[in-house]
């Protein structure tokens, strides 16, 4: 019995019977298969394509292919006035339109150096935090679907629906709001808005516990996510991660605290990071936990904003909205903490035009997704699905 290596046959085990060579066993570790996951695949959350090299069910390499949803955001911005960019920002991260608008408004207001009425700031924070909850609900719900739990998804969407109708009440639209304008708001909130938001907060608190019991503490869910796709903090920082992804790796980095904007310095809220007890720091479960805990912090923020908000007397949401936005020549980078991480707008103005010379969006999802190659190496296909789900991408923001 001996081992031979033959051209085209790989390594084979042979034995001799008289003059004949009998092949006993062929080496079955053969070619790798290219598996195209997406752009039409249920768990790529849109039109992401992952080209995976697979050895059986083990992924040796996964390369994300982007651009299926590219809509020339940056080129569009160069051709419209500053305020007209706001509706486009809604279409970046369409699950958190308010937050995108907020980030853009911060950038342009920095460039213009305008004073914003206090009530406007509070309303902005309330709608942004409401939208953060809605966005995290989608992230958690779809993550459940990725792992095969269908029911939490519908529970999440039931609660998200209440937020969407609240935001619709304020802005007139369910997802693409165009509510936070440069220098102010499109409208004041309806007179009963705060009471209804408070009602929602009271309704939603027990629901987070329910979600916790149904999904986060589920034995199978923990088995599927704990220790999967671990990203060490230093590598995460090198990749430029931000938001719940970075916090999931144990880095306490939240722009609302570390680079405070709006009225966040006045508010009391915690920045949840995994403690390493219920999850391994940096794994899929940590990222999920950070999102789940952040929803409760957002509820706290909303309650405080409602209490601290100045009255509507003599309030004009458009009082600081400039008639014509023509900033001085210069450049600015404004950023805000979005549900998915740091969304930043880099704007250049030539000082003559009412249109931005250049408007670059720094997308959190895009940056977070760039670590896919590292995260997916040596994982199983079901784990790859768990990892993509935990990154919580919105292709609208990845491709812009």
């Amino acid at each position: 019995m001996q081992e031979l290596d033959r051209a085209g046959m790989g390594s084979v085990r042979v034995t001799r019977k008289g003059n004949n060579v009998v092949v006993l066993e062929k080496d079955l570790a053969t070619e790798q298969m290219v598996l195209a996951m997406g752009p039409q695949h249920p768990s790529t959350h849109g039109v992401l394509k992952l080209e995976c090299l697979t050895d059986g069910e083990v992924i040796t390499e996964a390369v994300p292919y982007l651009g299926y949803l590219h809509r020339c955001f940056e080129k569009c911005c160069e051709n419209v006035d500053y305020p007209a960019v706001v509706p486009y920002t809604d279409r970046l991260d369409y699950l958190a339109g308010m937050n995108s608008e907020f980030a853009y408004a911060i950038a342009v207001e920095k460039l213009l150096d305008v004073e914003i009425p206090r009530r406007v700031e509070f309303i902005r924070v309330i709608v942004a935090e409401l939208n953060r909850i809605a966005s995290h609900l989608v992230a958690i719900g779809t993550y459940g679907i990725d792992l095969g739990a269908f029911t939490p998804f519908l529970f999440c969407f039931r609660d998200r629906e209440i937020i969407l109708s609240l935001l619709e009440w304020a802005s007139g639209a369910r997802m693409l709001y165009n509510y936070i304008w440069v220098g102010g708001l499109a409208y004041d909130i309806p007179s009963d808005f705060n009471r209804r938001v408070k009602e929602f907060v009271d309704y939603f608190r027990p629901k987070t516990v329910e979600l916790y019991k149904l999904l986060t503490e589920n034995e199978i869910f923990v088995k599927r996510t704990r220790g999967i796709g671990i990203m060490p903090a230093d590598v995460a920082i090198n990749y430029g991660w931000s938001g719940p992804m970075l916090r999931g790796s144990g880095v306490k980095w939240d722009l609302r605290r570390n680079d405070p904007y709006s009225v966040y310095p006045e508010l009391d809220f915690a920045v949840p990071v995994p403690d390493g007890k219920t999850s391994d720091v940096g794994d899929c479960l940590s990222r999920h936990l950070v999102r789940a805990l952040e929803m409760e912090e957002s509820l706290k923020i909303i309650e405080q904003c409602i209490d601290k908000m100045p009255s509507a007397e003599g309030f004009n949401p458009r009082s600081a909205v400039p008639k014509r936005v023509r900033p001085k020549a210069g450049e600015v980078y404004g950023r805000a903490e979005n549900p998915r991480g740091e969304l930043g707008f880099y704007i250049q103005s030539d000082g003559k035009s009412t249109k931005p010379l250049r408007c670059k969006a720094r997308s959190s999802c895009f940056v977070n997704l760039s670590a896919m190659k590292d995260l997916s190496k040596g994982q199983l296909i079901p784990d790859l699905v768990a990892i993509i789900g935990s990154i919580d991408i919105v292709l609208g923001e990845v491709d812009r």
């Binding site: 598996l35 249920p42 069910e57 095969g148 739990a149 269908f150 088995k223 599927r224 199983l380 079901p382």
Partner: protein, 372 residues
């Protein structure tokens, strides 16, 4: 036809006895030497189950999932959407039957057929009542365990024949899963067979009848029977690809697993087979551990509840109710639990269920030998 004496006033009993006579007359119906009556009789439960599984299995699944998820479910077609599945079937019938150009046409076409046959052949040996059994084999249980394995061939044919990488993954996963889980399932059923001392499904059921109702069921007859009962239930979930073991058709990973490429009626046949298997494993677990067609109600003193609720027609009622109950539990689990990973599934099978199945086997043997 002989009329039953009217001394049995009780309506169910009257019905039951005349049904017996009627079925015996049908068995004797042999035109041109062909046992046509027997075939018709054997086909009745099958047709019922086929109708049930297509319409009310799917409808029940949608309604139950809807109620669990704060929804209403189908509401438009008929009252409470009762006719929704019929509308769906009509739609599927009208769909174009697509065979992908690069598919292995032969395997692609026979796949669903084999799958269907595998899941429905086991119905032949299920006793639906003391008068209703397709084929009263003396190795009925063995036949039921064995014939289900044919499903694997159908799944592999469908997955391989589709010439789609996702289908192949689904098929390979499914085969590995079903073949593995047959072992704990079969050992667990063997515990029931050991308690009965026979593999004949009808005899197993009869051994569990008595005036104390549920107290005669094998589940309650021995203190260790709950272990094989639980093992078989978990293993049966894996055998019929239900959550949390639905990894062969894990829609978020493998699109739809081995039936990704199927459309129209072929898709419906695969679906029918799935719901058929669901009822089949539920019926088997009811027969082996929960008395099959026996009434679970006990006689209380002179109040002969058990006698009143037993009989051929009541038998059909009870076994179907028991089957429905387990189907409900299956759906309940499906809409609550996430999905396991392939390696975790195999771990559960080989390192948890199989050893425990052996333990329960030995304990049951000791019980059967030493405790009368």
């Amino acid at each position: 036809m002989i009329l039953t004496p009217l001394s049995h006033i009780s309506m169910p009993l009257l019905m039951g006895n005349s049904l017996n006579v009627w079925s015996e007359a049908l068995v004797g119906f042999n035109p041109m030497g062909l046992p046509l009556g027997l075939v018709i009789l054997a086909a009745i439960p099958l047709v019922f189950i086929a109708l049930y599984s297509l319409t009310y299995g799917v409808y029940g699944e949608r309604k139950i999932s809807a109620f669990m998820q704060d929804r209403l479910g189908p509401m438009e077609v008929g009252k409470w959407g009762i006719l929704q599945t019929i509308a769906d079937i009509l739609k599927l019938l009208q769909k174009e039957d697509i065979v992908p150009t690069s598919a292995d046409k032969f395997l692609f076409v026979i796949g669903p057929g084999v799958l269907f046959v595998g899941s429905f052949l086991a119905y032949a040996v299920l006793p639906f009542s003391s008068a209703f059994i397709g084929a009263s084999l003396n190795v009925g249980l063995f036949f039921a365990i064995g014939i289900v394995a044919i499903e694997v061939v159908g799944i592999l044919a469908a997955g391989w024949g589709s010439n789609n990488k996702w289908s192949l993954y689904g098929a390979v996963r499914s085969v590995a899963q079903i073949v593995s889980y047959e072992i704990p399932a079969a050992i667990a059923l063997l515990c029931g067979a050991m308690m009965a001392g026979t593999l004949d499904m009808q005899k197993i059921t009869m051994l569990q009848s008595g005036s104390y109702g549920f107290a005669h069921f094998f589940l309650f007859q021995s203190p260790i029977a709950w272990l094989p009962f639980l093992i078989y239930f978990i293993a049966s979930l894996a055998e019929v690809n239900r959550a949390p073991f639905d990894i062969p058709e894990a829609e978020s990973e493998l699109v739809a697993g081995y039936f990704t490429e199927y459309t129209g009626m072929k898709f419906a046949v695969i679906f029918l087979a799935e719901y058929g298997s669901m009822f089949m494993v539920s019926a088997i677990i009811s027969i082996v551990f929960l008395g099959g067609w026996n009434s679970p109600l006990p006689d209380i003193g002179s109040f002969a509840l058990n006698a009143w609720t037993n009989g051929p027609v009541w038998g059909v009622f009870w076994i179907i109710m028991k089957g429905f109950f387990f189907i409900f539990v299956q759906m309940w689990l499906r809409w609550t639990l996430p999905r396991l990973r392939v390696d975790q599934l195999m771990y559960l099978c080989w390192k948890v269920l199989t050893p425990f199945a052996f333990v329960s086997f030995v304990l049951t043997a000791i019980w059967v030998i030493y405790v009368p």
